[in-house]
Structure formats: structure tokens, C-alpha cells
Subunit: 419 residues, 2 copies
């Protein structure tokens, strides 16, 4: 199997075909989780998986498992997974690359008539992005039992449509119980979404762990009043309070650089009309850092800043945590497998830690989990201009192929079976 | 007629009955322009007006004219008007007080069998608040020809529903041509929405003019990227840019105090989801000041500040004007009539200038226009807790009655007609 290699052209072509579902004029993709477009993308994946001879299972939160039988089908499967949903103006690579790379691995094994000892599965997780439904990695978190199935099904989007309703609408309210399957090992490949690989010139990033991420909602309570006659001095303008809070969040991320990150990308304003000083504003934000001690300090720093703001502006400021993970480490054995695969293939590689969330993180709760990254042009992601070069896409899939095969074991290939 | 007086109880009761349409749990009203609730309020007004013997006309932008014939019906009518729409969490007085006071004036004339020389009309203007459709005072602006009827009908709300569609939906897409009627004089009564009358202890504010108001949209152009791995230093975070812009708007209002005002109560963020650094943000804002020179300086100040922000943050900032009015003056004759009425009735009064917009402002373009204010408790408005005392409500209506009668002329009352 030393020379087994994925079909780079077929891989790229499948990636581009998937990218046309929800294609945006600026060259990106819009496939919000469980939208009609996400449903179409799932349908295409399922068709391809079935054409490749896979048995397809969908669980109650919409996670899809496409299984290629192993010689010993009682063994827990070696899995490759990622997601097909995107942010509202997303790119063609984030998530979909990992799924299509997994599919390409199975297609390559079929072409070469390779029989693995353990079965192999390609997994599509529900709502990884957290853009339509919060929190991020909803499907894999439910799979590992980090939250209940009902909690996941009851999440609602900005229009009040629940995950339950959206799953039914696109026909992915599957029958399988969530988390009711053993996983032998989990691999994921993703575009980097940051500049490090491009800067170093390496092709493969082997991820050793994840930064800590803490998600909050900041609530600002002001007082509604007429925007005109109300004297400036007497106002409790929740928009002004929220603007100050956004800048505090930003300050904290900068203060703990270069490993600190912060953002406040989502805002809800009441009543958000011209003519009325806003009564209340909610700002979603998160803080990230590689060190536990530093993330603790960042949270405390932000909390104190909001308390001071409340005193200064005489408005209510609350910092409500609603989700957190990390810092965590990936499985050292799988990381070593991935490094070895990259070395055998002659790809430049380096170790990295991720600052973004991926389904590979929750998966560490139930199995050994390994993650690789490939370069993103200009470090750009969550942007329609997101791009990874065809040779990097192919390299990532080849590393997956080699590592997954090493993990699953080979009992027969074209040569041995046909003789 | 010296002793003719409105029925304070009937007035208050009608005001409270109207306030129950779209009543909110916190004691306010929610009747967004041309919503189902606004339609119900209009229906109630029309019923009351017809019960009072009025002929009702609706024009193509939904303005309603309830006409009480005069002895000389060829004279242009003396009008009393205001609006029934509210901000999303509005009070029971803003706008509706002026309409109900006008109706009470007609009811009082009926009770006393008073025949006026000129006809009298009560007018309900469409979308005064500017909360659902922008700009403010949409109906009266269309009436005076400040913008075209098509422009008004084509305005859309946040859900993309046009004024044209909303009018049809509630049955107020009237047949009358807009602006196709002469107005002899226009009176309006409103709650103050600020603290001055409460502070001085006066009952009636006679409005001599309006501050200048300039409405803008600030567009901030950033660059979408992943919130996590993207280094803090390389970001173009449009939310951070917008927060800085909101604080600049607020600074400008404070810098030109005590007559300066500013606000930025409305924000739109793309894509406004967790996980993506916002690409673009639009902030609606306005600046107000009583002096022309000062409003010019405020605009220039804000424009320079945004240019500096653009340079500092390497993001695009644009300040796009979209609506402006004032400073302007109301008709001195009508103001004198209103002062005289307050004096005869023994109400404490003072001159004021308004900082809020009212339909009485556009009306100065086509007729003599007069405006009075009554006190608001704690100066509060555009808030469900908005409140004006029954005696102030009655006082305002009595001043309207007296001034409107002086303007319309009396040819017969109960005494003269019945003998």
C-alpha cells in the first residue's frame, strides 16, 4: 500500500461540485445548518456514499454516518469526519474539505480493492459552525453526550425555527439514537483558517491541542427614551453601553496577545429602530487563549471592565457564560501517525494548536481523535474568498488515507484478492 | 363661547380605549405603522369620527381626514392632527393624544351645537414615528409634496414589506390623491417627550420652532474572517469600527450641549453570527441642534472623526445623509392664538422649541401651522411608562378647542340656532 494515493482531480472536482450548492456571487458558499442548501449538500453526499457502496445511517440530530464494511465488521470503525454547513457567507473549503477528503479515501480504497480490517466511516456532523444554531459543533457535542438530544433539538435560530423542525423539513430527522455507536478512532482534516502554515511554507499542520474558548453573552440594560428631546446627560443609552462593551472585549483580546483572541460579532438591539434610545442590547462574544491561567485572567479582566462600565454609565452590564471548552490535547498516538504519514509522503509539516472549534475536539471525549490542517490562502476563512490550493487539498487527503489505513489495518488489496 | 370646554372624562376614556389596541404588558402600546394594530386603531377612529357625523376621506398613502362641515364649506378647513402609530414599545400618549384631542374638540362642538364658519378636520397621519418605515412623518411629508407618493409607497420595513402592501393589507390604501386638499390652518397637540414643562411647572408649551435634525447612515466596511485563528492585529472587524463610530456620534452630541443631541439607535450587522468577524455594519444616527451654524459644525465634526477612524483602523467609513429638516419656525399668528387661549384658560405656559419631529413641521410648507405640548412625567417618552396627567391632557384639548374656534369662526351655537 506504500504507493496508494488519492485521485486529486476527482477530489477537487467533488469539492467544487459541493461548493456549487448554495454558491454565492462572490465565489463562496451559503449553506446554513439544516437549510434547504444544507439538505441538498447532504443529499449529494448520501448519493455519493451509496454509489461507493456505503451503508448510510442518520441519527436523531441529523449526524450522517456512511460506512464501508471491514473484514472484521465487529471492530469499531475508523472514522473521518467534518461538516457541510457554512457560515452565511462562507467559503468552499471549511468543513466540506474534510468530508470530501473522507469520501475520497473510501473511493480510493474501492478503486484499489482494498479491504480494511476495521470498518471505515465518513461522518457529516450537524451544525458545526454555530452560525444558525448555537453552540458550535452541536451535532458532535450531542453525539458525545456533552448535552442532551432534547437540548440540541430545541435550539432555535433567529427566526424561532428549532433544530427539530429544520431537521424534519429537510428529511434528516434520522431514526438512529444519538451516540449509540462505538468509534475506533476519529480523524479530521480542515483548512487552517489562520496564516501559520502559509507563513512557514509547510503543507500539513498536525494539531496537538486546542486553545481554551469561552463563550458569553453580555447584556446591557438601558432605558428607552425619545432620541431627540431627552437631554444627553440623563440618558441610559444601551447602544452606547454596548459599544463600550464591544471595545472592552476587543481590548482584552489584544492585551493577552499574541495567544489571546477575542471577538464580539453578534448583536441584538431592542427595539433597534430610529427614534428610540435602545432599552437593551445583547452582545455575543468569546475569549480564547492557549493557557488556562491566561483565559481565567481574560475573563476576570472583562468582568471587571464591565462592572466599571456599569458604574460609570449607570446601566446594567451582565456577563453570562454559556459555553466553554479547552484547553485540550489531541491523542498523541494519532498525532504521531499523522506526522509519520506526512513524512512518508514528503510533505513539510509542523505541529499546531487550533484556536477555532472543530468536531474533532468533542470527539476526544469518546475516542482517540486526530486533526490535521492544510494552508489557507492569506490565512482567510469564514469569507467567500477562502481558498486552499489543489495540491494542499490532495496532500491533506493523502495523509488521511495513510493514517486511517494504518489505524484500520489492511487484510487484502487488489493484488492479494485477485490471485 | 367663552365657557365652552371639552369633556375631560370622555377625552381620557377615549385615550385609554385607544391605548388598549396593541396594549403591552408593561402598560404601553405597540402599534407599528400600518400593522394590524394600527389598522384596528384607525378603524376605531373612523367609527368614532363617523358617529360624530364626520365625512371620512383616506388618501393614497393612508392619511385619514375626518371632516365636520362648516357654515361656509368652501372655506379651507381648520385642521387638528397627529398620528396613531407608535414605536415598538411606545406609550399611550405620543401621537394618539393629539388625534383624540382633535376628536374631542369636534364632539364638544356637536354637544354645544356649535356651527363654525370654516369646516374643521381631524387628521391621522401615516407613519409619523419612522420606526417601521423611514423617514419619520412619512404621510405628512408626502402630503406637502416633500417626497413623491411613489417614494412613500415604496418604502419597505425590515422584513421587506412595502408601505403599499401594508396599506392594502389593512384596507387604508385610500382613493384620494395625496395633497389634493387645501388646509386653512393646522393645529397639533403632543406630549412634550422631554423634561422642560415638568421642571417649570407649566401646563402648556407653545412651540415656536424646531431644532435642525440631520439623519445619516454610517457604513463601516470591514473584512469577514474567522473569529478564532485570525490574529488580532490583522483584523478589519466592522463591529469594532461600528462601536467606535457609535461613540463618536455620542461624543458629538455631548460636545455641543446643552442644545446638541445625537443618537445611534439602529444597527445592521453582516453576517451577525457567532464565528464570523463582521464584514459590514450600518449604523443609523442623527444629529440635532437649534442653531444652523452648530448643526453644520456637528456634521463636520462627525465626518472628520469618521475619516480619522477609517485611517486608524484601515476600514471604510462613510457618512451618508438621507433626511434633514429645520431649523424652522412655526406661524407666529397661530402661536399667539395658542398663547392667548392658554392665558384665557388660566394655564401656566411658556414658549418652547421642539427637538423631536412632528407632522406640524412638514405642514408649515403648505399652511400656517401651530403646535402645543403638555408635560410628560419624568420627561419620558418612547417608553411604555410614558404618562401625561388627565388635567394636562384636558388642558391641551381645551387650548386646541379655543384656538381652533378662533381660527374657524363661529356662526351659530346652541343658543342662536335654537331661538
Amino acid at each position: 500500500m506504500r504507493n496508494l494515493s488519492i485521485d486529486a482531480e476527482r477530489l477537487w472536482s467533488a469539492l467544487m461540485e459541493m461548493g456549487r450548492i448554495g454558491a454565492t456571487p462572490a465565489g463562496g458558499s451559503r449553506r446554513l445548518a439544516l437549510s434547504r442548501e444544507d439538505g441538498e449538500a447532504r443529499d449529494l453526499f448520501v448519493r455519493w456514499a451509496k454509489e461507493a457502496g456505503c451503508a448510510v445511517t442518520v441519527d436523531r440530530v441529523g449526524n450522517i454516518f456512511a460506512r464501508r464494511a471491514g473484514a472484521d465488521d465487529s471492530r469499531p470503525p475508523v472514522c473521518i469526519g467534518s461538516h457541510l454547513d457554512t457560515v452565511p457567507t462562507g467559503g468552499k473549503f471549511d468543513g466540506v474539505f474534510g468530508v470530501i477528503a473522507g469520501l475520497e479515501v473510501l473511493r480510493t480504497l474501492d478503486d484499489a480493492d482494498v479491504r480494511t480490517r476495521a470498518p471505515m466511516e465518513v461522518i457529516v456532523w450537524t451544525n458545526e459552525e454555530g452560525a444558525r444554531y448555537s453552540p458550535v459543533t452541536l451535532g458532535s457535542l450531542a453525539f458525545v453526550g456533552a448535552h442532551s438530544v432534547d437540548y440540541a433539538l430545541d435550539r432555535v435560530d433567529a427566526d424561532g425555527i428549532s433544530v427539530r423542525e429544520a431537521l424534519t423539513e429537510i428529511g434528516y430527522d434520522g431514526p438512529a439514537e444519538v451516540g449509540d455507536r462505538e468509534i475506533g478512532a476519529y480523524f479530521e482534516a480542515h483548512n487552517e483558517q489562520g496564516p501559520l502554515l502559509e507563513e512557514s511554507g509547510n503543507t500539513i499542520g498536525v494539531v496537538t491541542g486546542s486553545h481554551a474558548s469561552r463563550y458569553f453573552v453580555i447584556s446591557v440594560q438601558g432605558m428607552a427614551a425619545h432620541v431627540g428631546p431627552t437631554p444627553m446627560a440623563g440618558r441610559k443609552d444601551a447602544m452606547v453601553g454596548a459599544a463600550r462593551a464591544v471595545l472592552e472585549v476587543n481590548r482584552v483580546g489584544n492585551a493577552y496577545g499574541p495567544d489571546g483572541r477575542s471577538n464580539a460579532p453578534h448583536i441584538e438591539v431592542w427595539p433597534n429602530v430610529r427614534g428610540v434610545i435602545p432599552d437593551a442590547v445583547r452582545v455575543s462574544c468569546d475569549l480564547r487563549h492557549r493557557e488556562q491561567a491566561a483565559i481565567d485572567e481574560m475573563e476576570e479582566d472583562l468582568r471587571s471592565a464591565l462592572t466599571r462600565l456599569g458604574d460609570e454609565l449607570d446601566m446594567g452590564f451582565e456577563l453570562e457564560p454559556y459555553f466553554a471548552w479547552g484547553p485540550m490535547s489531541f491523542d498523541p498516538e494519532l498525532a504521531e501517525l499523522l506526522r509519520a504519514a506526512a513524512d512518508e509522503l514528503g510533505y513539510g509539516r509542523q505541529d499546531l494548536r487550533i484556536i477555532a472549534g472543530h468536531d474533532a475536539v468533542p470527539m476526544t471525549e469518546v475516542t482517540r481523535s486526530g486533526l490535521i490542517l492544510i494552508p489557507s490562502r492569506d490565512g482567510l476563512s469564514h469569507n467567500e474568498a477562502e481558498y486552499s490550493a489543489p495540491e494542499h487539498v490532495a496532500a491533506g487527503a493523502n495523509v488521511l488515507l495513510r493514517a486511517a489505513l494504518a489505524e484500520a489495518g489492511i487484510v487484502a488489496d487488489r493484488h492479494s484478492r485477485r490471485t
